[in-house]
Symmetry: none
Subunit: 253 residues, 2 copies
């Protein structure tokens, strides 16, 4: 029970470039009904706003605590598992989960001690590819093909509902920890991807290839692996040695 | 497939004494995203109304076909199974179902050839006892105790979503594969680990470290990622470039 009651605090709902302030309010209410209070806003068009509070219907604690960020990276700070809601398959080749599968995985990540983000895009345009690229998987709510777009707050409601159900479900034995070490968080992963990209430059791997495609594929691969901090340190060490070799090779050309 | 596509027509969403026309529109949209089009309104405060259409976001077929009734009895005409949504237990002694249980029972009733009603009360006061008394069971969406009231359209969304999931359950398409490419097999992974280990030697990463421990950790990491063949080719390419740099560096010592 104590484990369960702590769980909601490990989740944050991230709303990216939300156009309509009323949707922020409705989303806050939807979260609150399911016990979630942490909202992070990325470049909201209008916030705070009278319409936000009107639609929140009393979920003021959610709005008062909401962080406002310039970019998704900041909003994901400290998270180890991020799920991006998307109505469509795009260029980004991420694993696609149903809300129920997503809730199960998110809960498992939270039970392992991680922070989890559920990321919702702009009402009209959804999440951009570079935003989805920061997510571990994509969630598609199984709407009908000819009317597939849920209102933003409705999507928040469905996800909050599924995560709450998963957390209420018969208490499963705690999943064996994936790692002994703390999971790598979003910022650490970004630093790793920068180091990796720089190293691929240094060893001339990018030469003649499209670095964006390569990096998207490597992102997908390494995010899927859900690494811990020790693994990340080991990979940084390998990259540093490869860079040193490249320096020696070039210095002696 | 023909059974499935016929099923949504056996469901109607009944909104009783709805105060806010915007909620009727949002409910129509919520229904429509899940493939449901039949709405029955009992004594709506304002309908039709400009706000209804604005919030429906294109679910006009739902609104155009919506019946308007003076009482619940008329709205339930022809149904064989009715479920009343309620946030609270009242005097009415009805079986109480979760949305998921309710969806399963509703689907079973529809598959037996019946018409099913999902009944939603007024935003503030819910369903009256005499209205609940016309339902076969009560559905409670498992919200938190201290903030239990979902917005009306959110409750409609959750129920529509659960019924759609239940109807898709038996015929769920196989989940989309994690990869477009064939997964790497055990032999391919072994070749990769050999290449990786050799490269770590070449770039002097193993120097002073226990190669066995390192390789066990890397194995664990890369096996967890469940790579496909294309990803493996990419990683082989990176390793080859790192080896080339090491050769250059050493050859020029």
């Amino acid at each position: 029970m104590s484990v369960i009651s702590d769980l909601p605090s490990r989740f944050r709902f991230v709303l990216v470039r939300t156009s309509h302030p009323g949707n922020i309010g409705s989303a806050a209410r939807a979260m609150r009904t399911m016990g979630f209070t942490r909202m992070e806003l990325v470049s909201p068009h209008r916030f705070p706003d009278r319409e936000v509070s009107a639609m929140a219907a009393g979920a003021d604690d959610v709005l008062e605590g909401a962080g406002v960020h310039a970019g998704l990276v900041e909003a994901l700070a400290g998270t180890s598992f991020a799920l991006g809601l998307s109505a469509r398959r795009r260029g980004v080749n991420l694993p696609e989960l149903t809300p129920r599968e997503a809730a199960a995985q998110a809960l498992a990540a939270a039970e392992r001690g991680g922070q989890v983000a559920l990321v919702f895009g702009n009402e009209r345009t959804g999440l951009e590819n570079d935003e989805l690229a920061r997510c571990h998987a994509m969630v598609r709510i199984p709407s009908v093909d000819d009317f597939s777009s849920l209102n933003l707050a409705q999507a928040v409601q469905v996800m909050a509902y599924e995560v709450r159900l998963a957390s209420l479900a018969e208490k499963l034995p705690t999943p064996p920890p994936l790692h002994d070490e703390p999971p790598a968080d979003a910022a650490q992963m970004e630093r790793f991807f920068e180091h990796l990209s720089q190293t691929l430059d240094d060893i001339d791997f990018h030469k003649g290839r499209a670095p964006t495609t390569i990096m998207l594929r490597l992102r997908k691969l390494f995010l899927r692996a859900q690494m811990d901090e020790r693994e990340l340190r080991m990979l940084h060490g390998i990259l540093a040695d490869a860079q040193r070799m490249a320096q020696l090779a070039n210095g002696k050309k």
